[in-house]
């Protein structure tokens, strides 16, 4: 069986998780299991939509705009948004201190954010979902081959 290398977007997700794990909070990639309050605060990194662009790329490559979401999650008795804010700051610093994500992307930038919150429990819960957009190039026929 030939080895199948991970796609560039998968490598980007790994790089993001690694960057977030340099903060004082744990980061997970596409964690599907729920979090208990004592496992928070934490980050959950999830892939989002991607869009190929052939217009300005030279023959043999495709430019991608790929988005990923960083869910900054916390539970607290009161003012739970304040518990999330340090994750937003530290997470942004960790990701955007190197917008190339270790040479994988040409640029990484914010693409949006959304607050989610719930009460009606022992602890209030909050997630600040920060969407980032990266741009990178790959081979037209192989998403694992990076084209700078």
């Amino acid at each position: 069986m030939p080895t199948i290398n991970p796609s560039v977007q998968s490598q980007i997700l790994d790089a993001v998780v690694a960057a977030l794990n340099t903060t004082q909070w744990l980061a997970y990639r596409t964690r599907m299991a729920s979090f208990k309050p004592d496992q928070l605060p934490a980050f959950n990194v999830l892939p989002d939509d991607g869009e190929p662009d052939y217009a300005e790329s030279y023959s043999g490559s495709v430019d991608w705009k790929f988005r990923f979401r960083v869910r900054c999650m916390a539970a607290a008795v009161n003012e739970v948004d304040k518990a999330v804010d340090p994750l937003f700051v530290a997470g942004s610093q960790a990701i955007l201190s190197d917008p190339t994500l270790g040479g994988l992307a040409r640029i990484t930038r914010y693409a949006g954010q959304k607050w989610e919150r719930e009460g009606d429990a022992d602890y209030d819960q909050c997630a600040l979902v920060v969407t980032f957009e990266t741009e990178f190039g790959t081979s037209r026929g192989d998403p694992s081959v990076l084209v700078p």
């Binding site: 596409t30 964690r31 599907m32 299991a33 729920s34 979090f35 208990k36 309050p37 928070l40 959950n44 999830l46 979401r69 869910r71 999650m73 539970a75 008795v77 989610e116 919150r117 719930e118 009460g119 009606d120 429990a121 022992d122 602890y123 819960q125 909050c126 997630a127 979902v129």
Partner: protein, 98 residues
């Protein structure tokens, strides 16, 4: 005929101690688990929705929103107004203190 004086029978056996305003009574503790803030159905936060059910006349003055209450030895805050279950029992949503 069933009356107010009989309400304590319901809580006597399966009730847990509830301390409010220096008075101890018994109430029915519920701790169901709910998952909130799921992302497309997954990766949410699993929390307990603790409530205590008390006879409507358990205390001279019943707890109100924001009141401190100790249930089964654990301190809580009454999170919201009580729900009247059946005219005899009130269900209080509780919130952790810290």
């Amino acid at each position: 005929m069933f009356g107010d004086a009989d309400l304590g029978v319901f809580t006597a056996d399966m009730g847990v101690p509830v301390l409010f305003g220096g008075v101890m009574v018994k109430g029915i503790l519920n701790k169901p688990i709910a998952t909130k803030l799921a992302d497309e159905g997954f990766g949410g936060i699993s929390v307990q929705q603790t409530t205590i059910e008390l006879p409507y006349n358990a205390f001279t003055t019943m707890p109100e929103q924001g009141a401190a209450i100790v249930v089964n030895g654990i301190s809580y805050t009454v999170a919201d107004e009580a729900a009247d279950i059946d005219g005899a029992f009130l269900r209080y949503p509780l919130k952790a203190v810290s």
